[in-house]
Symmetry: C2
Subunit: 266 residues, 2 copies
DNA sequence: GTGAGTTTTTCTCAACCTGAGATGAATTTA
DNA sequence: TAAATTCATCTCAGGTTGAGAAAAACTCAC
């Protein structure tokens, strides 16, 4: 074993880098695609844009774009991939200050884009109800689209078709969101700063597409330390047809739930 | 809403593609790095190689290499990213027929490689005890290194230092493996085709770094449908100092555990 | 062989958690 | 003021978990 050996500094390192020609490599492009999920009026939605330029002009697609490798005429380089994701998203809609951003996965099949070899790093965003998006460069429409209108990325031609392999990416994003709700306190990312236990349950029900027992949900949430914090205040009023005024909570500090809140255990 | 609108086929699509010049883009390279994890004699290890060429010559690193975007002198193009990962790994060690391969995440900070903007897609491999690795192109040594000898990727200079941001990647790989053991039946990926419940428990103990109550573990595994299948056979002998001959099992068909097997619930 | 030690496997029991429904509290509408 | 609605709490049976004891099946030393 060579543990403890000091990694040698190489005198030729600088000479090597000076002589290095990045353009000698076969062209591969790197893009970011953003699957921004939100819940609008109880319906889980994803942000889509309609492509106004080839390839796949006229098809709906996730907001995305090339990672800026270096400073250039279009703007400064993206320091890291999340910066690129936020930049791409900010061209389509207003970003709230609190926003959950995480890497989803990377797609790089040889034939996924007709132009060239394009490797796309997909990001997942969970956001509270955001305003209507606006059109940006490269698109002539932008909409929040319910998940139910899209296929499942399995090739079955159901619902609104998406460009490239974006149906797959959306399906992966939805599955990631569903599974993250089990093990983390991320459901609060879909809600405003203060919310009721019922609103939290409706997030679970919307994302999972199931009904939950409200009393047991209530007990479970309050028993999970760090999930929510009591603000001490009550909502202005109860439901539409009357009812007790619910307590308001804010997100607690906990990131992971112990024990988890599992869907479908029958 | 414009749902149901048929995405138009564009006449200019072909002309656009014919005129497209991939080399016009700023150079970004895509590599794959493989974190191959295994358990050798009860110690969890990761496969590392020592770089024999700049940059970072002499430093230990994960096996990795550029994704082949097109057919070229080095060989045919990688059809997809997992193919590239397997190709890179096969240059270092023999691959068993059964092998768990999954994408870990992608790293693309601007300064993570001194040559150019390099986006690296990291893959996680879980394998049963593999033979000693051999040196391949670009390296002059290859070893299975215990996780305990490495830092945690948090910048703290503990243990054997790794090239680039590979300490971070290894830390992410280890955390992914630890958490996957909770929710999936993946522990069997570290074991040969048939194994005992005790061997399975030792996988959990090695990866999590904890001790588990053997009787409760036994009960839990057998109660989880699809985790293991009884082969009907017994091992040749018990422990080193005698003992009952344990039953042999093989991996069952289940991918996810319901309910999960959680670590640390105190 | 016999007995002590080892390892696997099963059993017991209290504590906790979960699913399902009932009950009570607070508030709006008719 | 009564009824309907919604939030919040309580109860209880059934299942799961954590901890230890006990039984079963084996090896080794004597």
């Amino acid at each position: 074993m060579e543990t403890g050996e000091t990694p040698p500094h190489d005198d030729g390192e600088r000479r090597f880098l000076d002589a290095y020609d990045p353009r000698a490599f076969a062209p591969t492009a790197v893009t970011v695609d953003v699957a921004a999920l939100t819940i609008r009026a109880g319906t889980p939605c994803v942000l889509l844009t309609r492509r106004s330029a080839p390839p796949q002009r006229g098809w709906w697609a996730l907001p995305g774009g090339f990672v800026r490798a270096q400073d250039g005429p279009d703007g400064p380089a993206d320091p890291d991939l999340p910066d690129a994701a936020l930049r791409v998203l900010s061209e389509k809609t207003a970003l709230p200050c609190e926003l959950h951003l995480e890497q989803l996965r990377t797609y790089g099949a040889r034939d996924r884009d007709p132009r060239m070899r394009i490797v796309s790093v997909a990001y997942l965003i969970l956001a509270p109800d955001l305003p209507e998006p606006h059109v940006g460069r490269g698109s002539d429409a932008a909409e929040w689209v319910p998940w139910s209108e899209l296929g499942h990325g399995d090739g079955a031609r159901s619902g609104r078709p998406l460009a490239f392999d974006h149906a797959r990416i959306v399906a992966d994003a939805v599955e990631r969101a569903r599974s993250k709700l089990e093990y983390t306190a991320l459901a609060t990312a879909f809600l405003p700063p203060t919310f009721t236990i019922t609103a939290l349950r409706e997030v679970y029900e919307a994302v999972w597409g199931t009904r939950l027992h409200s009393a047991n949900f209530h007990r479970k949430i309050l028993a999970t330390r760090g999930f929510v914090e009591d603000t001490g205040e009550l909502a202005d009023r109860g439901g539409p047809g009357g009812g007790r005024r619910p307590r308001l909570y804010r997100a607690g500090g906990a990131a992971v739930l112990h024990p988890p809140l599992l869907r479908g255990t029958p």
